[in-house]
Symmetry: C4
Subunit: 210 residues, 4 copies
Amino acid sequence: VIPRQDNLELSRLEAFSDGVFAISITLLVLEIKLPKEDVRELWARMGSIWPSFLSFFLSFVIILIIWVNHHKVINLARRSDNALLYTNGLLLLLVTFIPFPTAVLGETLLSSHPQQGILLYCGTFLPLSLSFRAVFHAIVNHRRLVRAEIKDEDIRRISRAYWLGFLVYLRACIFAVFFPCLGLAVYLSLNVLWLALPYATRSTEIKGLT
Amino acid sequence: VIPRQDNLELSRLEAFSDGVFAISITLLVLEIKLPKEDVRELWARMGSIWPSFLSFFLSFVIILIIWVNHHKVINLARRSDNALLYTNGLLLLLVTFIPFPTAVLGETLLSSHPQQGILLYCGTFLPLSLSFRAVFHAIVNHRRLVRAEIKDEDIRRISRAYWLGFLVYLRACIFAVFFPCLGLAVYLSLNVLWLALPYATRSTEIKGLT
Amino acid sequence: VIPRQDNLELSRLEAFSDGVFAISITLLVLEIKLPKEDVRELWARMGSIWPSFLSFFLSFVIILIIWVNHHKVINLARRSDNALLYTNGLLLLLVTFIPFPTAVLGETLLSSHPQQGILLYCGTFLPLSLSFRAVFHAIVNHRRLVRAEIKDEDIRRISRAYWLGFLVYLRACIFAVFFPCLGLAVYLSLNVLWLALPYATRSTEIKGLT
Amino acid sequence: VIPRQDNLELSRLEAFSDGVFAISITLLVLEIKLPKEDVRELWARMGSIWPSFLSFFLSFVIILIIWVNHHKVINLARRSDNALLYTNGLLLLLVTFIPFPTAVLGETLLSSHPQQGILLYCGTFLPLSLSFRAVFHAIVNHRRLVRAEIKDEDIRRISRAYWLGFLVYLRACIFAVFFPCLGLAVYLSLNVLWLALPYATRSTEIKGLT
C-alpha cells in the first residue's frame, strides 16, 4: 500500500506541473493581439506586431526546455515530500508568471525605451533558474529523495551545470542593462545550452540496455 | 475488473481536480494588466499596479496550499462515490472562482474604499474552508471510503485541525470588516499554518519505512 | 502488448476529455467582468452583474454533471475506436462552446429581451444531450466496445434514461420560447435528475463487494 | 526500474501533449466575441459574426483530428528521447498558435479582403503537416524508437500517406492564393481524409484478436 501512495504523490506532482506547463505555454498565444483600429491589410498589421510573434516564440521554446529539464530532474526522485512540493510550487509560480513579461516584451520592444521590457524578460529567468536549483536541492540534499541507482558523481555534475547556468543567466541580465538587444540575443543562445545539458546517468543506463 | 474501475474513478477525480487547480493557478496571471493609456516608463507603470502583483502572489500560494492539502485528503480514500464527487465539485467551484476576487482585490486595494475588496477576498475562503471539510466528511463519515490502514485517531486529529482552520478564517474575516489591512495580514499568516498541518499517519508510515 | 495499447487509447481519451472539461469549467469565471466605468462601491457593482454569477454557477454545475456522467459512460467500454473518438469529439465541441452561451446569458438576462439569451443557453444543451447519446451508442451498439460484465438490461435502462432526458430537455426549450424564465427554472431542476441517473450495474457490483 | 522510467517519459510526453491539445481546443471559444456596441437583438448580432462560429468549428475539428493522429503516431513508439521531445515540441508550438489564425479568419472573412486571412489560416497547417512528419521521422528513422511488433511495410505506408497529405495541403494553399473560398473548401474536405488515414497495423492486430 505504501509504495502506491508514494508513487501517486510523485505522479500527481508531475501531473500538476505538466498541467501548469501546458497551460502557460498555450496561454502565450492570447497575448498576440492584432491592432483593431488599424485599417491596413492583414500582412501590414501582422508586421507591425512582429515583437509579439518573437516573444511568443521565445517563451514557447523556453517553457518547453524548462518542461523537459523539469521532467529529468523529477526523474531523479523516488518519492515526493513537502520540501519538494513547495520548491516545485515556487518554480511553477515563476512559470505561470512568464506570459506577463512575454506580453510586455512584445509591447515595448518597438517603443522608444525597449530596454526595460528586455530587462524584465531576462530578469524573470534569474529567479526561475534559482528555483530550479531549489527543486534539485530538495531532491538531492543528503540524497534524501534520490533513487538508489543514481550515482553521487552524476548529482555533482548536474549541480555544477546548474550553477554555471545561473552565472550565465546573471551575465546575460547585466549585459541587457547596457546593451538590451545584445543581452536578448545572448539570452537566446544560452537556451540552446540547456538542450544539451547532460543528465548522463540516464543515457548511460539506456545505452547499457540497447 | 472491479479494482481497476474503482481506482480509475479515484484517479479520474484526482486528474480532474488537478486540472482545475492547475488551470486556476495559471489563469491568475491574465488578471495582471498594464494600464495601456499610461505613457510613463515601464517600471512606473508596473509600480502603479503593485496590488495586482500582490494578489497574484497571494492567490497562487493559497491555491498551491489547497492543492497540496486536497492531495492529502484524497489520499485517505480507497475509492470514490457520488457524495465525494459532488462535495469535491463544490470545492472546485470555489477554486475556479478565485481569479475573480483576486482581480477585484488587485483593482480596489488602491481605491478610496479598499475594505470591500479585502472582504470579498477573505470571504471567498470561508465557504472554501467549509467545502474542504465537506470533502473530508464524505470520505471519513462512518469510515465509508477510508483506506483500511488509516487509524481513527488520525481522522479525529485532522478533523479538529479543519474546524480550527475554519474558526481562524472566520476570525480573519471579522477582523477584515473593522481593520481591512490587518485582516489581510492575519489572513496571510494563517496560510502558513496549513503548510504545517499534520497528516501524521503518512509521515509516520514513511518514517517507519526509512 | 496489445492490452497496453488499448488501455492507453481509452485512458488518453479520458485524459483528453477530462482536460477539456476541466478547462471549460475553469474558463467560465473569465466571463464575469466587473463594469469598469461604474464608480459605485463594489457591492453595488457586483449586484448589477448578478446574472453573470448565476450563469457561472449554472454552467459550472452542468459541466460537472456532464463530467460525472461522461466518466460513467466511458466506464462501460473496454476499449476505444474511431467511432467513439469522434462522437466523443462532437460532445467535447459542444462542451467547449458552453462559455459562449454562458456569457451571453449573463449579459442579456437584464436586457429588455432576455428571451433569446435563455433560448440560446437552453438550446445549447439539446445537441449536447444528443451527442451524449451518440457516445453511448458508439459504445453499446451491438455491444461492440462494452465490457463483458455489463448486462444487456443495464444498457437498455441507461438508454431509456437518455431518451427521457432528451425529451425533457426538448420540452424545456419549448417552454423557454413562451415563458423564458420558467423555462430556465425547469431546466435547472432537470439537472438534478442527472445526479440520480442510475448506472445500477456499477453500484450493484460495488454493493456486492462491500 | 529502467522500464518504469522510459514508460513515464513517454506517458509524460503524451500527457503534456494532451494538455496542450485540450487547452488549445478549449481556448478557441474565447475568440468568439459578440459586438458590444451592437444594439440589435441577439440573433442579428450572432448572425453578423458567423465567420467566427465557422472558424471555431473548423479549428475544433482540425485540432481534434491532429490529436487523434498524434495519439496514433506516438503509439508506434516504445520509448521517448530528446529528438522526439523537441520535434513534438515544434508540433505543439504550431498547435498552440492555431487560435490566432482562427481569430483572424473569423474577423477578416467578411472584410473587403478575405484572401489574406484565408491564406494565413491555410498556411498555418503547412508547417504543422511538416512538423507531424518530423515527429514521425524521429520515431521511425532506422526504427530507433519503434515498438518491435510494428512492421516495416506499415511504416512505409504511413510515411507515404504523410507526404501525400503534405502535397495536398500545399496545393490547397496555392489554390487559396487565387481562389480564397475554394481553397478553404478544398482544405476542409481534405481533413476528412485524415479521418480515414490507415494505421492498419493496429486495426489488423485488433481484428486478429477479436
